[in-house]
């Protein structure tokens, strides 16, 4: 029966309760910093900048007191695909980020073209992946899901005033989704057991059994959707009965307060990200 146990294995948010500076930061400021760093990592193409970024994210993990092996736990299962992609990028790319203006070719045979641009592409892509893996772990290990949701809502609130962007609605949707995941996991367990007790073959997993896999999926997915929509109807009724009105003028139980050190951190991160993106690195 072990294969039906989902509830036990689902952990939403991986918050580690520590008392580092990163943990104590205002979630709004932390989110802005996160966005700037992700931007810097995603758009930089040079070796030097990536080495600096790798150093910085590792330093941030040290500051946050999160054990580095926690932050890197997602790396191990990804190694085969990283290597596979790197091989593809090295062998087949004729031009890298620069558009192929000054690539040095090492080896050429038919469609296979090993050149410096392909190598740069492979190395930078792998480095980006590691950087982002560490950075997202840093965010999820140091911030609770509630903080993230409320932080997002309050950051987007000015957009709601100016452009009618549904910031509050987005946050509420996120909260509802997170609230219902365990409920649906339980529901899914029940549906699976019910179908198996009626003789359904849920099949073994394997790359070459995908047709059987798909067919065994339908009797699980359809009831799951229907029960979810039914629950949605009930929740709508309950909220409307209580005259729920979202949006403007709603106050929050938790109020975030930014400290001066938050602004200092924010200024440093913005300057750093701008520096990484604008500085003309030679390599």
């Amino acid at each position: 029966m072990e294969e039906f146990e989902f509830v036990r294995n689902i952990t939403i948010g991986q918050y580690l309760a520590l008392h580092s500076f990163v943990h104590r930061m205002d979630p709004r400021v932390k989110l802005i910093c996160f966005v700037f760093l992700v931007g810097a990592i995603t758009f930089t193409t040079s070796y030097t900048a990536n080495a600096i970024l790798l150093f910085v994210v590792i330093a941030l993990i040290r500051v946050s007191q999160i054990p580095i092996r926690y932050a890197l736990s997602g790396l191990k299962p990804a190694v085969p695909i990283v290597i596979l992609l790197a091989i593809l990028q090295i062998t087949f790319y004729t031009s890298g980020f620069a558009g192929g203006s000054n690539c040095v070719s090492f080896f050429r045979w038919g469609p296979i073209d090993v050149n410096s641009c392909g190598v740069q592409l492979a190395v930078v892509s792998a480095a980006r992946f590691v950087d982002l893996l560490i950075l997202t772990s840093l965010l999820t290990f140091s911030t609770t899901v509630t903080e993230l949701t409320l932080g997002t809502e309050q950051l987007l609130a000015p957009l709601q005033k100016r452009f009618n962007f549904p910031a509050h609605e987005l946050a509420l949707t996120m909260t509802i989704a997170l609230r219902f995941i365990p409920t649906f996991a339980e529901e899914l367990e029940r549906i699976m057991k019910a179908q198996v007790s009626r003789g359904a073959d849920l099949g073994q997993r394997g790359a070459f059994r995908f047709i059987q896999q798909t067919r065994s999926l339908l009797p699980l997915i359809v009831p799951l959707f229907l029960s979810a929509l039914r629950r949605a109807e009930e929740l709508v009724l309950a909220m409307e009965a209580r005259c729920y009105v979202g949006g403007r003028g709603r106050t929050h139980y938790v109020e975030f307060k930014s400290r001066p050190s938050d602004f200092v951190a924010l200024a440093i991160v913005i300057l750093f990200a701008a520096g990484i993106l604008l500085f003309p690195f030679a390599y």
Binding site: P166, I176, L188, I221, F225, A228, L229, G247, R248
Partner: protein, 185 residues
């Protein structure tokens, strides 16, 4: 009369978006949403189907909302360098609901079932094409390596169409009392 300040989304839309986003995330967590296939990507997915269903039931905004949350989680949870990139993981998923909704809205007058199936296919292809396109632009995947993904994209589109038709038809049957669905709570 002063109207209450609400930016366009009704309670129903918010709730349906939340519930369907929960399913999408759950399919990812339990790995039930991944169907192992023998090619480079390793997995066909049905995690985008809630976005299609949400769009068909409650409109493009709901579809985008679900797609956005699905994208956010696939970015944070990604185990592959391809999806550890916000432009690849999040942006294309916002569009799924929009294309799915409009293809449904256009074809609905002609035939409801066909409209549902087409919106499933269109939504699914939107996901595949935009994700691979972004991955190609970022140099994460050589264009030549995408050829083996074509059969998978077709399979995903068919599965998405089947699930969309099954779920929406059953749900609307329940809602109107036709189709023999019984309302159990």
């Amino acid at each position: 009369m002063e109207t209450t300040a609400q930016s366009g989304l009704s309670v129903r839309k918010i709730v349906v978006a939340g519930v369907l986003a929960a399913i999408s995330i759950l399919l990812g967590y339990t790995r039930l949403g991944f169907i192992p296939v023998p090619n480079l990507s390793g997995n066909a997915t049905i995690m985008h189907v809630p976005a299609i269903i949400g769009a068909v039931l409650e409109g493009p905004a709901v579809g985008s909302l679900i797609g956005g949350l699905f994208g956010l989680f696939s970015f944070i949870q990604a185990e592959s360098p391809i999806f550890k990139n916000p432009i690849v993981a999040i942006l294309p998923r916002l569009i799924i609901g929009i294309t799915a909704y409009y293809s449904y809205a256009v074809l609905k007058r002609w035939n409801e079932y066909a409209a549902l199936a087409v919106s499933g296919v269109v939504g699914s292809l939107t996901n595949t094409i935009l994700v691979l396109g972004m991955a190609g632009l970022f140099g994460l995947l050589p264009w030549a390596a995408m050829l083996p993904i074509v059969p998978q994209a077709i399979a995903e589109a068919i599965i998405a169409a089947i699930i969309t038709v099954a779920v929406v038809a059953a749900w609307k049957g329940i809602e109107t009392g036709v189709g023999g669905g019984s309302r159990k709570v």
